[in-house]
Each structure stands twice: as structure tokens, then as C-alpha cells.
């Protein structure tokens, strides 16, 4: 099962004084502000969690996997996420209990 906005709402109801409507609005606005910042060209640094950075990619040759036809992949700006130290450390603990 994946964590969704509905789960985030439920926990905010337990951990804050917000009501359901406020919790929903705040969560939507939280993600909207991060998107807006990235859209305007700013990176977003959430200490402890990670940084959302922007990278400009040049055009490069690509291929339609179905037809094999060559089509260029146009230049574009993409979002990358670099997890912070604290998040990486937490996930390493999961790694330690799930070695294969």
C-alpha cells in the first residue's frame, strides 16, 4: 500500500488542531507551493527530507521503441530529487533489515 494524500490528512487530524477541510487544503497548498517554486525556476530545499533541483537537458537522439524510428528527444527542464542525510539514514535502517 502506498501513502497517499488521504493518509496524510488522517495523520494531520491526529497531530494538529486542524479540521478535515483545513488539513486537506493545507496539504494541497503545500504541494502546490513546491510545484510553483519549481515552475518559477527555484529549487526547493526541505532540510532533513531532501532537495528538489532543476536540470536543463540538451536535445539528444531517441528512438520510438515500437517502430525503431529515430526521433530526437527535445531539450527540456526536469526535476531531480536529492534525499537529505536524515532521510538517507532512515532508509539505510530499512536496508539493514532487508538484505538480499
Amino acid at each position: 500500500m502506498a501513502l497517499t494524500k488521504a493518509d496524510l490528512v488522517e495523520t494531520l487530524l491526529e497531530e494538529t488542531e486542524l479540521n478535515k477541510h483545513e488539513a486537506k487544503e493545507l496539504i494541497d497548498q503545500f504541494f502546490e507551493e513546491v510545484k510553483s517554486a519549481l515552475e518559477s525556476g527555484s529549487s526547493v530545499k526541505l532540510s532533513g527530507f531532501g532537495n528538489f533541483d532543476l536540470r536543463d537537458k540538451k536535445q539528444r537522439p531517441g528512438r520510438n521503441p515500437k517502430t525503431g524510428e529515430e526521433i530526437p528527444i527535445t531539450a527540456r527542464r526536469v526535476v531531480t530529487f536529492k534525499p537529505g542525510q536524515k532521510l538517507k539514514a532512515k532508509v539505510e535502517d530499512y536496508s539493514d533489515t532487508h538484505q538480499n
Binding site: 504541494f31 531539450a75 530499512y94
Partner: protein, 100 residues
């Protein structure tokens, strides 16, 4: 944009909420997302993107100071895949990003 700037923007937008609740809520959201990943659970936020863990196989690394080789266990690292809306908004705003 930093976490404190994000909190400030949201606090202005939700100025009717009790003092401190926005900060508490933002910290709770980031904590919930970190926790989910540390349990190996995916996060799916429509329009924003999804977070999951990517497996890294064991490898032999080197101590950069001494040059000694060290065996590194397999591990999981957090990964973010931007959703369609975020991809499109960032890419359109960076439309002339092809130059460099």
C-alpha cells in the same frame, strides 16, 4: 525556497489557523513521508509525483583516503519520479533551456 520560507508562505495563506499549526503540519507531512519510505512504503501524490526506494546491489568500494577496498552491503535509496503535471509545468516554464 527553503522549508522555513515554505512555512511562511503557507502561514500567510492560512492566516486564520492557530499560530504554529502550519509549522507543525508541515513538519508532520515531511515526517510522515520520511517514515513511509523508511518502512519501504511508496508515496503517491497525484500531480506531484511518487517516491519509492531503489535497490543498490552490494559492491566493492574504496576508502578515498587510504585507497583500501571495502565491501559495501546492498542498500535502498529514496527515488522521486515527478508526476505529469509537475513535469509539464517545469518544462514549459523552462522552454528556452536548450542553450547550455
Amino acid at each position: 525556497m527553503t522549508k522555513s520560507e515554505l512555512i511562511e508562505i503557507l502561514a500567510n495563506r492560512f492566516h486564520n489557523l492557530p499560530q504554529g499549526e502550519v509549522e507543525l503540519a508541515v513538519k508532520s507531512l515531511l515526517e510522515q513521508m520520511s517514515n513511509a519510505l523508511s518502512f519501504g512504503e511508496r508515496i503517491e501524490i497525484r500531480g506531484f509525483g511518487s517516491f519509492s526506494l531503489h535497490y543498490r546491489p552490494p559492491r566493492v568500494g574504496r576508502n578515498p583516503k587510504t585507497g583500501d577496498s571495502v565491501e559495501l552491503n546492498s542498500k535502498y535509496v529514496p527515488h522521486f519520479k515527478p508526476g505529469k503535471e509537475l513535469r509539464d509545468r517545469v518544462n514549459l516554464s523552462g522552454g528556452n533551456a536548450a542553450e547550455d
